[in-house]
């Protein structure tokens, strides 16, 4: 812990003032109680259901956490308050680990209580009553007879090969018979099973296992897991940014510890989270956000420690132009944020809690699931309300003030970071047209630094390319796309998977340079000189 916190200071040279401000804010508390951030997540988790409690500050959460029991020391063990990801086959779902909380996943419901204390990567079986039973060894099922046919010339589809009826199977399930045994029964009652080829038998068993033997694995969140999950579950929320495209962004952006990064995204905070993971809490990130506040639903699913958020600040997109032209003055900030904050709070709790509460709405209650589980969840929330209201009564106005101060501090921090226009990189991935955004934000980046712009469509990036060429100050522009093909690898049955993703978006990458002379800077690359010739014609 101490080593971890002392290193960033050395790395951060440029962001030093800001970092020390951040340490002054919550440093001591954090060192004494590393588990606080996780507990905070849990508390926030509840807070979204009733806006009344949403003004409880992080400091208060800390106070509550002190009373809570300390976590187990190993980061590999599932703990209450963690963010975890449920996995069944290739389906993922991010959840907060909370006791006595009903979770619906892949048409099954269960509680995570039993999972607490097990290591990440453990597989569980859902038993009736919704408890999870760890399933250590995945014992292979061997049908007694190794008999198999060689081809299907005599297999006729008469719809009568399965001797068990729907009702029979339902009865078996209702009796609470293990999925494994149901599969065995299905095999025994299939008249054609023995005539099937070995491969067909294998396929049959796999299919039935998938249906009747539901095994859920609990894994630790990571960019790999969360970006795969989002692309599969809610691609619209992340502008169809496929995970391999995100991987390219992180690499081409040279995202690493110690950087001062600028991130502008409307991908639910997934891109931000990916950048935070790669920076490991070292350096600084300024998130440029459109509208009222940054969306960080996916960011919170990563379960980052509180220290990571100390390196994160935010700056409104609408203020970037005035900031660059110098009409945005730092001294006018305090009054400005005071005007804004109460407005946001009146509407729907406070701005901060609103944004932090979105993960649960996004992931926990994706439309389909929300309908099924809405009822019990609400009931559960109520249980916590009285407890929470007590906390609220203790100091609403105090908290409001704290929150405003925090917001003000973050803005000043962001402005200080942007002031020298010496960021180490720029990552843009939003639903907006990227051209104007890019031209503006590139002003904040130091020379000889990479930038990456994502767009779901190619055409806006063509325009970006042309505009950047015109303006100069960038080299090595590259418009690209990656294709990802997954393979089935099985003995004698290897081939590309039947379905692959049709598109995961496009990237425009490049490197900033000193823009000394606008007229000559863009003649380095051949395409531009050709373009210029065309322009000179008229």
């Amino acid at each position: 812990m101490t080593k971890w916190q002392s290193r960033p200071i050395a790395l951060q040279k440029k962001g030093n003032k800001v970092a020390s401000a951040a340490r002054a804010f919550g440093g001591n508390r954090k060192r004494a109680f590393p588990e606080l951030s996780l507990v905070r997540e849990v508390l926030l988790f509840f807070s979204f259901s009733f806006s009344a409690w949403s003004s409880v500050s992080f400091l208060d959460c800390g106070r509550i956490a002190m009373e809570a029991s300390p976590r187990s020391s190993s980061p590999h063990v599932i703990c209450e308050g963690d963010w975890a990801v449920l996995k069944r086959e290739d389906v993922f779902k991010a959840v907060a680990v909370v006791k006595r909380r009903k979770i619906v996943f892949e048409k099954q419901w269960f509680c995570l209580d039993n999972a607490i204390g097990h290591v990440y990567g453990t597989s569980f079986e859902v038993t009736s009553g919704g408890s999870l039973q760890p399933k250590r060894t995945l014992e292979e099922m061997n049908p007694e007879t190794k008999e198999a046919g060689t081809d299907n010339r005599n297999i006729i589809d008469d719809g009568k090969s399965q001797k068990l009826t729907h009702d029979d199977i339902k009865a078996l399930k209702d009796k609470g018979i293990k999925g494994q045994e149901i599969v065995q029964q299905l095999i025994e009652n299939s008249t054609t099973f023995r005539d099937k080829t070995e491969f067909a038998q294998d396929k049959y068993i796999k299919k039935k296992k998938k249906k009747y033997e539901a095994v859920i694995t609990i894994i630790k969140p990571s960019t790999r897991i969360l970006s795969t999950m989002y692309y599969a579950r809610e691609p619209g929320k992340i502008n169809y940014l496929r995970y391999d495209t995100l991987a390219q962004m992180l690499t081409w952006g040279n995202v690493h510890a110690g950087n001062k990064m600028i991130v502008m995204e409307t991908c639910a905070g997934l891109v931000l989270g990916a950048v935070m993971e790669r920076m490991g809490g070292y350096g600084s990130i300024v998130q440029i956000y459109p509208g009222e506040g940054p969306v960080r639903a996916a960011t919170s699913c990563f379960g980052f420690p509180k220290t990571f958020f100390d390196t994160l600040s935010e700056f409104p997109l609408s203020k970037v132009a005035s900031f660059l032209s110098g009409t945005f003055s730092l001294t006018s900030l305090p009054s400005e944020s005071e005007e804004n904050t109460p407005l946001a709070e009146d509407k729907n709790g406070s701005g901060d809690d609103k944004e932090l509460s979105r993960p649960e709405v996004d992931i926990e209650c994706s439309p389909k699931v929300a309908m099924e589980s809405g009822q019990p969840e609400d009931q559960e929330m109520v249980e916590f309300t009285s407890e929470a209201l007590d906390d609220k009564a203790k100091g609403t106005t105090h908290d409001k003030q704290k929150k405003q101060e925090e917001k003000k501090r973050k803005l000043i921090e962001a402005a200080a970071l942007l002031k020298n226009k010496d960021a180490d990189g720029l990552i843009v991935a939003s639903r907006f047209h990227p051209a104007s955004l890019l031209l503006l934000l590139l002003e904040l980046v130091a020379p000889s630094r990479p930038f990456v712009v994502y767009c779901q469509y190619k055409e806006p990036l063509l325009e970006c390319y042309a505009k950047l060429r015109e303006k100069g100050g960038v080299i090595n522009l590259k418009l690209s796309e990656t294709w990802l093909r997954n393979y089935q690898i099985l003995p004698d049955r290897s081939h590309p998977k039947l379905i692959m993703s049709g598109g995961g978006g496009y990237l425009l990458t490049g490197i900033t340079v000193k823009n000394e002379s606008i007229n000559t800077s863009d003649c380095l690359d051949e395409p531009s000189s050709k373009k210029r010739k065309l322009q000179e014609h008229h």
Partner: protein
């Protein structure tokens, strides 16, 4: 200069990238009194480079100029001296994400080869992680050590000269991730499992041939690895071009053409732009795929080691 931490000014001993133009660049070691020849003339390190900012334009003796860039692992990959086939940034990106590499990760790699991937791994796991890289070719291993020192990342990497298939990685239960780029990765799967942390970790194997993948997957399964997946990533690069396509002469009169509304308006505009063209054209921007692209580098097989 260091590959893991940006700096602003060019210093003695730095490795800088000289950027001459479209995809044309090379690395240079900055030395007092050093000279570098380019097609635009000579660059004198003491006066032209040292003390200047990265990203500056440097005028060469013949009046031409180049940009001097800060070295990143990605630029290094494009400019390093090949001692073997190397991995490029497209594959490296996916490997890094799928192995869940981040600051603090402990990684085992074999073989080191030309250290293209090694530089990218070191960048990602710094400042608290460590790379153990195994290369059985003595000369390559020595060259890699030299480069790591030159790039000021030596403290983050240990290079060992041994056969990974026979002797393993030389470490046990320490790694969060293992990467294999060797001809017979299935022979190293057992060693990889040993090198990975007791609690588990991720593994990736890169192989050009499907038969290698087949054997690797079998070995992974035998050793109890889960989540075994194989994928392939292809990079498609587009040239941005303004394209002009001629409007075919359909034998219509001039009157007929001007009455086509919006299109007609556009056309007259284009006419003014390109008076040389004999016929009416339509211009548009397009991303044109390259005539040839890399169709295959290798299959990437990933898997997870669990506690049991």
């Amino acid at each position: 200069m260091s590959f893991i931490e940006y700096g602003d000014t060019i210093k003695e001993g730095d490795t800088a990238i000289v950027f001459l133009g479209h995809e044309s660049m090379f690395p240079v070691k900055v030395q007092h009194g050093g000279k570098t020849q380019t097609k635009y003339g000579v660059i004198r390190h003491s006066t032209d480079l040292i003390g200047k900012k990265y990203g500056s334009k440097v005028t060469c003796s013949k009046g031409g100029w180049v940009y001097i860039l800060y070295p990143t692992p990605e630029l290094w990959t494009l400019n390093l001296r090949h001692r073997t086939q190397i991995l490029y940034s497209t594959d490296i990106s996916l490997i890094t994400m799928m192995l869940e590499l981040k600051p603090g990760s402990i990684v085992c790699e074999s073989g080191t080869g030309s250290a293209s991937l090694s530089h990218a791994i070191i960048r990602t796991i710094a400042p608290t992680g460590h790379l153990y890289t195994i290369e059985f070719h003595q000369q390559r291993a020595e060259k890699a050590i030299e480069e790591f020192e030159e790039h000021k990342v030596g403290h983050l990497v240990t290079v060992k000269t041994q056969d990974v298939c026979k002797n393993g990685f030389g470490v046990t239960n320490v790694a969060d991730a293992v990467f294999l780029d060797i001809p017979s990765p299935w022979e190293a799967v057992g060693h990889a499992k040993l090198a990975l942390k007791h609690e588990g970790g991720r593994i990736c194997s890169f192989s050009p041939c499907i038969e290698q993948v087949q054997r690797t997957c079998l070995a992974l399964e035998e050793h109890g690895f889960t989540e075994i997946t194989t994928s392939e990533i292809l990079l498609r690069v587009y040239n941005v071009r303004t394209i002009s396509l001629q409007i075919p002469d359909l034998g219509k009169t001039a009157d007929g053409n001007s009455s086509t509304g919006v299109d007609g308006g556009n056309l007259s505009n284009e006419d003014a732009l390109c008076p040389n063209l004999p016929q009416e054209t339509i211009q548009f921007k397009s991303g044109v795929p390259l005539k040839e692209m890399v169709g295959h580098t290798g299959y990437l097989t990933f898997a997870t080691k669990n506690l049991f």
